[in-house]
């Protein structure tokens, strides 16, 4: 029997959630036994090569590239799990939602104190750079998300337990300490 396929993606976050995945320590050996990785920053596979069972998402959606890849994930993955505050709510990056994007860009590139002299700034417009969206969206406002794991980041135990439960088709029992955040 072929192993279940897992893919992961990093959008607008700090990579902390991926670090937390790696934080499962020696269980990473079990993981490799348990699943096969497809598109993921962990193995640097750039494109989907087969249907995926579980997609794991870190980070919110702040530009067109994020949104397109997230939609790709939705298309290729049977189950999508959003992990971490950024994916679930927009998190720290979404603090920019309080300021209109135009003002943000103007402050950063045209009027801010680090712009050397007047009229020399330019808002980056290279076609290779993704276009910023009007605000940072949580993933579930862009595609349907099946499961959410809160935390900043969710602990390695939380991620591990959730993944094992999903793979085994068992109910997920997380200790109170793993989901209590205050």
């Amino acid at each position: 029997m072929s192993k279940p396929v897992v893919a992961t993606a990093h959008f607008t976050g700090c990579f902390g959630c991926h670090m937390s995945i790696l934080d499962i320590d020696e269980r990473i050996l079990d993981l490799v036994e348990l699943v096969e990785f497809n598109k993921s920053p962990i193995n640097d596979i750039k494109n989907f090569t087969k249907p995926v069972d579980i997609g794991i998402i870190e980070g919110g959606i702040s530009n067109d590239e994020n949104a397109e890849i997230l939609m790709e994930f939705r298309k290729h993955c049977k189950i999508l799990v959003a992990i971490g505050a950024c994916a679930l709510t927009g998190g720290v990056p979404s603090m920019r939602n309080l300021v209109p994007l135009k003002e943000c860009l103007e402050e950063a590139y045209l009027n801010g104190p680090t712009v050397k002299s007047e009229n020399t700034g330019i808002i980056p417009n290279d076609p290779d750079i993704p276009v910023l969206l009007d605000k940072v969206y949580p993933c579930h406002e862009v595609v349907k998300i099946d499961y959410f794991l809160p935390g900043c980041p969710p602990t390695a135990d939380t991620i591990w337990n959730a993944l094992v439960a999903l793979l085994k088709g068992e109910p997920l029992n997380l200790d109170y300490e793993l989901i209590k955040y205050d």
């Binding site: 939705r74 417009n125 910023l132 969206l133 009007d134 969206y137």
Partner: protein
Amino acid sequence: MTHHYREQIKNIANKYGNDRGYLMNIARDIVKELGYISEEVVADLADVLNIPMVQVRDMVSFYSFFPRKTLGKNVIRVCNAVIERMKGADEVSKAFEKALGVSFGETTKDNLFTLLHTSCIGLSDQAPGALINNVPLTNLKPTDIPQIINDIKSGKNVSDLPQSRVLLNLKKEGEVICAPMESGKAIRNALNMKPEEVIGEINKSRLRGRGGAGFPTAMKWDFCRKQKSSVRYLICNADEGEPGTFKDRVILTEYPDLVFEGMTIAGYAIGAKEGIMYLRGEYAYLLDNLEKVLAKRRHLGLLGEHICGREDFSFDIRIQLGAGAYVCGEESALIESLEGKRGAPRDRPPFPVQKGYKNEPTSVNNVETLCCAARILEKGGEWFSKIGTKDSTGTKMLSVSGDCEHPGVYEVEYGITIENLLELVGAKNTQAVQVGGASGKCVAPKDFGRRISFEDLPTGGSIMIFSKNRDLLEYMYQFVEFFVEESCGWCVPCRAGTTLLEKKLRQILDGKGTAQSLAELRRIAQTIKLMSRCGLGQTSANPVLTTIYDFADLYAERIKEEDGKLMTFDLQKAMKVGIEASGRIKEGVK
């Protein structure tokens, strides 16, 4: 800091004995003289009354009738509640915008006009309506508007306009409220009994409150009377804010004596010396006449010291105007408002009968309930108990509006079926009937055999009829909008929940909802109902909850399924600002 208007503020406050309990009245008078209540005025007023500034700001910021910015000389409030919009209020609104050259919420450059929207003003039977400088105009047509504006500009009084006509629209007179009366007879009957016996007579009638909750009136009075205290209050709830309700308007216009008679009897029964009528601000135009009736009754010895010559019974009534907040119809919010505070409901217990106005035992009764009480003392509890059904004795004043030939007020016996009612009012081709206003139930044709009564379909009086050619769910959405506006903001399930409900419903109505959105809609609605702190929140999801079950097809029609991609997310739209700001061209993006 002193300002030129400080003297004015001082004088107004003085008029009310510098009593912070009269803050509503003081604020109202200030608005009348200065036009609005600025931060400076708030500071001055707090100083004059010697209370913290936040108490003043907290109160005035709550009510829609206390503007914080300067408004134009003439303030136009166009009602855009559900029934109005069925009857063409949107076109009337546009005509106002066109005639004045400003949008809603704005003031004309010459400071002559401010244009605002308002919720139901109790004129749904003659919609579309508007209040200009608190004077009601009815049955407006878009073509009337330019002339109205010109007339006001040329100095004409609003009350002299041809549209300034409130029709009584009393379509069916019953034997309880609308029967002829002899002022003082019921009071004299009551005074011949002990207060306990008066309560006993009400008990015999099995009268239940007409304001919505249907609490047995005798029990309420008895609780109030039995509280240990030397001071008690009687409050008549004339806030009538439920969209589509206007029966109290008709009662207060046509039968004010009956209301005051009932208040006096209630005062005697519970042992109160002071009665207060809380009249919704939108009904300010009824005030003059009500005051006249009060004066007449004082003159006749039916109010004031030693009523009907009785040494041991004195009772008087004052009228307090509200300032445009629906939640103030809820009895504990009403009491807060009476005490000059923001109208946020109180925690209960203690109930108002235990600790109400000024923390003294208080009975709050609806206008119609008090009328019934007067009639019961005139004709006997026995007589009353024979009208209506077993658990709903007497008659009910219904305010009927929407798609029917004869909108207006009908006094009907409790127990009438929806079917018979529709026939009575000339409604054909009916898709649904909203019973009980925005907070009520949307009743489908399969249930038109059900009866208006506490045991089946209770209503404070609002009956709105929707014919088959109406987009029913759009009107349910407008009800939700109403609650978003009127939530007092105290508790999260109501404050945030109503907004979430509004967004989710909009998404579905726009054809962007999936099966999951529908499940979420239901879950939000149930949470609001279950977790809200007061009746406003607890009932706010009713239009959605009842239609989800009884008009499931209307929702199902709009639900789409699209392999997990959400239709609410519009990538092109989300990219627009970013592309414009950087001035770059991106393929496929307009």
